[in-house]
């Protein structure tokens, strides 16, 4: 058994070596740190004309929500379906109770977690709102909102009942994303086309539909991940 593992390790390391050597010999594959963006699509993204058209200071955001917004819709769908799947696997219909965490929250924890909840929620919202200007955006922001909710969850025994409302948020934010895409098809010419003015680069209210989309992504991600965490923290009632 041990010998077999050693052999497997040897084979995999040889594989890594082969990949590295092949890439080193590859004339078209650029050496690390030595890339010419003029050869790539990205050179065109960095064109000042393109940036003005999009109006987002953070070029990664411009790509994620703008140029490749369709990928992001797919990405949100991946989270959606894995949240659905987790609920399905844990049998959401059966009677359930919260995971017993072996401790009961005292007064300090309860108050402290409320305060922290507010702080984390604010930071999460800030990150989402400024996604087109600074690093961050819908995905980390949404996850922060979900973690704020997780905190309340740990502190409050009665919280589970309220979390069901997330289903509506989850459905509405996802549907709105597609609807905005369809509006682009109707009001402009193409699916997901920016039909609002781009504004000035660097302003909070710039970049047309992209901040709206990022907020929707944030809400969607937040509600999906809350749903996933909720399911992971629930166990079947023994009775």
């Amino acid at each position: 058994m041990k010998l077999k593992n050693l052999l497997a390790l040897l084979v995999t390391l040889l594989l890594a070596l082969a990949i590295i050597l092949t890439l080193n010999n590859n004339t078209l594959f650029p050496a690390f740190g030595d890339v010419d963006l003029a050869d790539r699509v990205s050179g065109q993204y960095l064109d000042s004309a393109q940036i003005d058209e999009i109006g987002a200071a953070n070029i990664v955001t411009a790509i994620v929500v703008g140029f490749r917004g369709f990928d992001t819709l797919g990405e949100v769908t991946v989270l959606f379906i894995s949240s659905l799947g987790v609920a399905l696997l844990f049998g959401a219909s059966r009677k359930q109770k919260r995971l017993d965490a072996d401790f009961s929250p005292n007064f300090m924890l309860r108050v402290g977690s409320r305060v922290l909840f507010g702080v984390i929620l604010t930071v999460g919202l800030y990150i989402i709102l400024h996604g087109h200007l600074t690093p961050g955006g819908g995905f980390p922001g949404g996850t922060m909102i979900a973690s704020a909710i997780l905190l309340l969850y740990l502190a409050d025994d009665q919280f589970r009942a309220k979390i069901k409302g997330f289903k509506i948020l989850e459905s509405a934010s996802g549907s709105l994303y597609v609807v905005i895409g369809l509006l682009g098809l109707v009001l402009a010419t193409y699916f997901l086309q920016n039909f609002l003015p781009a504004g000035t680069v660097g302003n909070l209210l710039s970049a047309g539909i992209f901040p709206i989309l990022y907020i929707l992504i944030g809400l969607k991600v937040g509600s999906e991940i809350s749903g996933i965490i909720d399911n992971f923290l629930t166990e079947e009632d023994a009775k």
Binding site: P135, G136, A146, I225
Partner: protein, 83 residues
């Protein structure tokens, strides 16, 4: 050799070693914690490679969320085992 090269050499070797330890860890929980450590080192690497968006996302989702999901799973099944 610049400071960047030295730093990336150290970082790369550390990550490979920790990955190896994580894969061969005896206990499940230690494998998960080593994974979390690798993820945090990856965050450092992302910052070094000038990818702040990715670094934030990896820090929050990669090392935060994924680790907690692993821990919740282990927690829930450990309790089942006791019963």
């Amino acid at each position: 050799m610049t400071a960047f090269d030295i730093l990336s050499l150290i970082l790369g070797v550390m990550m490979v070693v920790i990955v190896f330890v994580a894969i061969h860890a005896k206990k499940m929980i230690s494998a998960v914690l080593f994974l979390s450590l690798v993820s945090m080192l990856a965050v450092v690497a992302f910052v070094m490679l000038k990818a702040p968006d990715v670094a934030i996302t990896e820090a929050v989702i990669g090392s935060g969320l994924v680790t907690s999901l692993f821990v919740f799973t282990l927690l829930a099944t450990r309790k089942e085992g006791v019963k």
